[in-house]
Symmetry: C2
Subunit: 558 residues, 2 copies
């Protein structure tokens, strides 16, 4: 909290302005994401109060805005929905527990400085996961948009449920929902240019356009209240109890802990990755920096606070953080101000949302998540790398068909298998000299000269158990050739070596010796040489360790 | 089978001599390993007939001798013992099925050219696995040595069983067993020098010493028969039916297939790895070579043949292949001759083994496997690499306490986690110039000069999802420093890049740009540059791609 020492009046004003704008944006989002998580609307407000204060104390980003976000809310609904029924007290207790567990796990990772765990989630897996989750979220909100009760946590379930209950469809709800969807879609792209033409600055126009959802909330609530549309079959949010829950430590149900821990781990990691990515991006804009392992503590504290305050899992949200940044937030104090404003809302203003139609919240969610379906990034991954594409589509397919948790796990396993298969099949080149230079290149790709009786191989990967036998096989081929007297292994791209690699070098040395061929190394890296010196390989080596490959070839052609 | 075209009379003689010596060695081993696998003694002979012919047709090693081996026999006993009871017809049928499944799996791997599957077994895991298996095998044979009935497939089970049944201990058996153990141990180390002093050549003395087990078999059988020791409580092999089973395709029990497949896969991989390692070593001695993917077909055919001929899983054995080689075998025809000789034994000579004491077979096994406990190799691994040591001791512990299959799986998982953690934590160095040279080295380890306003980083690993964020964090640190104008990433050790790596480079480029810093690459490898050109990263790059790091630094300091 070094920022608090340099806190000034000018910053107070900036942070307060940002807090007001973020609050206006956050209120409909909080209500909507609570609904998405299967919770009463007020829980969304509770999850937007204490976590912001906790993050301000423990986090390292100046502008990250934490709270309920779409993907984590979906994961919460899936995890808690699997162990209990929405609408019950047990459901509420389980989401609180999930927030506490997620907070605890993040705290533990933070104290162990184990943020690298999140590296298991590759970019294509996260990108595929978020795109597929967005589709699932949009599908799950269709029920509110057309007034049909459905449930389910996978696309086939949702579609089947929707189809079965289509007879309960409410025309009035659909009309309102579509109007709202159209309005929000227009606000996203069309409002800012209009505001600019009205003379607002670019940034002010962009910021105001972000407040479209609040406008939709106000207009639709007035319409429902004024024309008594709730009598026409339009579902409304209904009575939201005013007040704040007293912070309390719930009774821990250890059976539930056992059932929820995989979800808590996945929610923590996904939340952390997303939050850190937003944090890095915003910090760089002002040449500030965030500390990933400290972020674990910040997010952990935020989730613990959410659980203690009767909320559900939270994380740093992309759009609200950008709004916070663009609105001029200077320090985490903006989050504290936001927290106070949301607290005032929960205490005194909940009555204003009674007539808010659920279809409008659903439209807010749908418009927000559809932009998360990242077709451009998918196209880029497909162009760039086959292995990554497989991992990405595996994730998308598994999320849609098997659910969010199975999806992440499938994606992580798939990317690990891809990585292992790549480090297991390194590029091995036979080298020749580019005439007149000291450069040695692949004989298959370049016009090069080879030295009679000397075979030079380059191995482009760390030498370890998954790939060492490839080198062994390659050298076996060389042994079968006539007149070979020396084999030189160009080791410039061998970043490290394990015991299997050493065993292989020893076997190669022995077999070449049996066949009367000397074995040399060139361009061996420092860490590799350090390690080889811990074995007695170098004393058995029939040839030499040459500093450069050129020196090796000069010595052997002499 | 190219060797058959050049087959000559001289080779017939050499192969026949080798076959006779191998047969004499193989008979006691076959009987003993059948007993270890929980099978009647004659099954060991059956498994040493057809597989040798099948391997001669499909294999690529000139001197590899296939048949029952200790570790695979233990794995067979464990796998089949888990699904049925030793001594029943079901047990026999299950071992036949296991041989067929193992053969089928090896064949499939061979047709798919998927021998790389075996690379999952690192040297330390195999070494630990074999050492631990040897201890388990020796422990399982103690019962025959002291005449106490025990069972179990883990060390705690075996010890507990032995302890409980210690009252049934047979003094006569123990005396015979210890005598035999002492004799065999002496033969292994002490006989060859005596023979040499008697005027035999070194190689003849070594070869004759290998026939010690047969000598023990003959002497002990005569002793039991002459002095009717079987009346003193010494267990004998008993009646072995003469004749050969007709090759037949058994009824496949699909329920059993489901239960046995993990064991079949592990047996195939372990057998393949061991066999290929022996094959490579012997081939190199004569500048011949073996083809690993063809070996899969050879071993697959051998196992299918073993199953069809009523045998159990087989593979290439180390000691018998060395004997075959040393005895002068020239071609796989030696295996065919061995096969015929074993066939003759099974048809006409089984009566000779009726009075063979089981304790002698047990002593043969114990002496053979104790040499597999490779303490020297363990010490080397411990000196060489911590990660490998963990994987090795994890394997040893799991084999002894949980059993052979759990042991291999634990070892493989552990080595994969070690590898991932290593490629996930690469060495990142900040570079400076060694004064007066074109060399750039780690500023923490060498006396080097840095250029004002330019930060040069070197990343020593392929850039992928597990480690890309480390680079991101490192660059975030650099952004926080004052007066930086250029960041150069020395990419000479980046062997490949995945989509997460690309995403990271893009994020770094964007963030540096936001902070007013240019981003450069140097020494980018061909395959990496090829891949980067498939994205539009290079067109966004704020700096340049420099051929060498020195050129980059020259350009930027100008």
């Amino acid at each position: 909290m070094h920022w608090i020492q340099a806190y000034s009046k000018a910053k107070v004003r900036d942070d307060l302005v940002a807090a007001i704008i973020v609050t206006v944006m956050l209120i409909p989002q909080s209500l909507a994401y609570a609904m998405l998580a299967g919770l009463p609307a007020e829980v969304g407000l509770y999850a937007s109060i204490l976590p912001l204060i906790a993050y301000a104390v423990f986090g390292t980003s100046m502008t990250l805005a934490v709270g309920p976000v779409a993907v984590v809310s979906l994961m919460t609904a899936t995890a808690v929905g699997a162990v209990t029924t929405p609408g019950t007290d047990n459901y509420l207790a389980a989401t609180v527990l999930l927030a506490l567990m997620s907070g605890g796990f993040l705290m533990v990772l933070g104290f162990l400085r184990a943020g690298f765990m999140a590296n298991l989630l590759s970019h294509p897996v996260i990108s595929g996961f978020i795109s597929a989750s967005a589709i699932l979220i949009a599908a799950s909100q269709l029920k509110h948009l057309i007034g049909v009760p459905t449930s389910g946590h996978t696309l086939p379930q949702l579609i089947q449920n929707l189809w079965q209950n289509l007879d309960q469809f409410s025309p009035a709800t659909l009309v309102l929902g579509l109007l709202c969807l159209g309005f929000l879609a227009w606000v996203r792209s069309g409002l800012a240019p209009v505001l600019r033409r009205l003379g607002l600055s670019d940034s002010a126009a962009d910021l105001l356009a972000k407040l479209g959802p609040m406008l939709a909330v106000i207009l639709s609530t007035l319409a429902v209240y004024g024309w008594e549309l709730d009598q026409q079959g339009i579902a409304i949010v209904g009575h939201i109890p005013a007040g704040l829950p007293m912070p309390s430590v719930p009774n821990i149900d250890w059976g539930l802990v056992t059932e929820l821990w995989p979800a808590a781990v996945l929610i923590s990691l996904i939340g952390f990755v997303e939050s850190v990515s937003v944090g890095h991006t915003l910090a760089a804009k002002r040449r500030e920096r965030i500390q990933p392992n400290r972020e674990l503590l910040g997010l952990g504290a935020a989730n613990l606070a959410s659980g203690l305050g009767g909320g559900f899992p939270v994380t740093g949200g992309f759009s609200r953080s950008v709004v916070n940044y663009d609105a001029g937030a200077r320090t985490p104090m903006a989050g504290v101000f936001t927290s106070v404003l949301i607290g005032i809302t929960a205490l005194f203003l909940t009555g204003l949302f009674t007539y808010l139609p659920r279809a409008v919240l659903a439209a807010t969610v749908i418009v927000a998540v559809i932009s998360l379906v990242d077709l451009k990034s998918m196209r880029h991954v497909m162009q760039f790398s086959a292995g990554d594409s497989v991992a990405m589509f595996m994730t998308i397919g598994a999320v849609l068909v098997l659910g969010v948790e199975a999806g992440i796990i499938a994606g992580v396993l798939c990317s690990i298998v891809c990585l292992l298969s790549q480090v297991g099949r390194p590029h091995i080149a036979e080298l020749g000299r580019v005439a007149g230079t000291e450069h040695y290149r692949n004989i298959d790709r370049h016009e090069v000269d080879q030295t009679q009786g000397v075979v030079a191989l380059r191995f482009d990967e760390r030498l370890h158990f998954l790939n060492a036998r490839l080198l062994e096989d390659q050298v076996s081929d060389v042994i079968g050739r006539p007149d070979v007297q020396h084999v030189v292994l160009h080791s410039g791209a061998i970043n490290q070596i394990d015991a299997s690699g050493l065993e292989t070098l020893e076997a190669i040395n022995d077999r070449l010796q049996t066949a009367g061929i000397d074995f040399h190394l060139s361009e061996v890296k420092g860490p590799v040489l350090d390690r080889l010196q811990r074995s007695n390989f170098l004393s058995h080596l029939t040839g030499q360790v040459h500093l450069t490959h050129h020196q090796a070839m000069q010595a052997l052609s002499a």
